[in-house]
Amino acid sequence: MGTRPPLARAKQLRGVLGFVLLFAIWQGITSSGLVKPIALATPEAVFSVIVAGIADHSLLINTGVSLERLILSVIVAGLLGIALGVAVGLSRRFGSFVEPLAAFFNAISGIVWLPLAITWFGLTWKMLLFVIANSVFFIIFFNTLLGIRTVPRVYEQAVFTLGASRWRSILDVIVPGALPGIISGLRLGLGFGWRALIAAELVGATQGLGFMIYSAAQYLRTDVILAGIIVIGVIAFTLDALLLGPLERATVERWGVYQ
């Protein structure tokens, strides 16, 4: 465990090749004159925007503000989501009451609360936090729930035949068994949260990446827009793929649950 077999290495290289090709296509489209320069900025222009944005910190500040909002929201929503998910997963009675409501509110989670949140909090960070935490909460809740429900019954039964009490089986079997689901939920929550964040910032913020690309649109600055999109995309990709990988490896894969 730890060394990468040759096939995986080949796959990685091919993946990188994919992005290289993407860039090549982009470069090709802009330099061939197929589209008006104002419609699509060249890779070079975008690159210089990124460099300038790092040099004068503007890009860094916007990115930092957005990430800050995300992390705060995920922490708040995560704690609530896991707590409620465990409660509902363990109690069928409580669950049959809460779950349909959660499913319905899930349908309106996130950006749909924007107008109401603006009514309550104005165009402030509180409004943004509410909208983002809203999206994140439900994902974490439902994944925690799923994690609890997919723990094979036989593990519980085995522990019962060892004399365990219900409480004991929850601690020893259900919670560790639900961990993959909880981690999934956190990972998805970050991804969902990031999407909700960008959407909310487009409309209701004066700082941050969403704000940056939206105001750039007013001036038809496709170079700034694309620079922002790239940063947003890289962060989104990282959140979806890499962030929780190591955490998963340390716990869940060590148990071979994902075999």
Partner: protein, 252 residues
Amino acid sequence: MIGFARAVAPFAAFVTLWAIVVAVFHVPQDVMPSPNAVAVAFGDAIRKGVLTVYTGETIRRILLAASSGALIGVAAGFFVALNDVVADIALPVIRFFQSLSGIAWLPLFIVWFGFSDKTIVVAVWYTLFFPVLFNTVVGVKTVPRVYRNAILTLGGDWRRMVFDVLLPGAIPYIVGGIRIGAAFGWRVLIAAEIVIGAGGLGYFIFKAEAFHLTARIVAGMLTIGTLWYLTDFFVLRPLEEATIERWGLVHR
């Protein structure tokens, strides 16, 4: 009958609680309207035709984007999946675009298409296309080699391979992709309607905020939620259950 009552009970309880809280704490109508006020706003918006028109626009957009996005996504997915090397090259890029929400592309689409209906539909199409594409590729690749070999030793041609083996085998993933795509697509749709302002339910609730018609906002939110819930409940979830749970991946 009892089943129906039991299903409705949590909602009934919630609405009751809502009404009580608003009354007991004397919550101002423009902060949180009572259920009654919302119902009134509902009726008002329907009578004026506003709600129905906007709802129609929203539905049209999601149907258009969903049907074309899903079909093209599945077809493209099959093509990509057929060659292992091509799939390896394409998957990370596809995943990148799937992670990058359609909402982030709105400013660019605004530059291209302006604040129009087209901008909204393209953004939603994009949001639906990539998850379906990604999941189709993964799904096809996951079909065990033995099944493919089996069909070959039975003398099957590529048509048989696709329709008898790959498509059924990949269906759980495809359906999963459609479900994810639809969930994201729906949210992007509302968000785009809020940003672009070319009609639709998103615009409906956003405009209501500008006029401090909180009851109308809530009415709009409930409409959005109900539409999504119904779609998920009557279309998406049964579809997923028919395929995924049959494969024994979820124990209830």
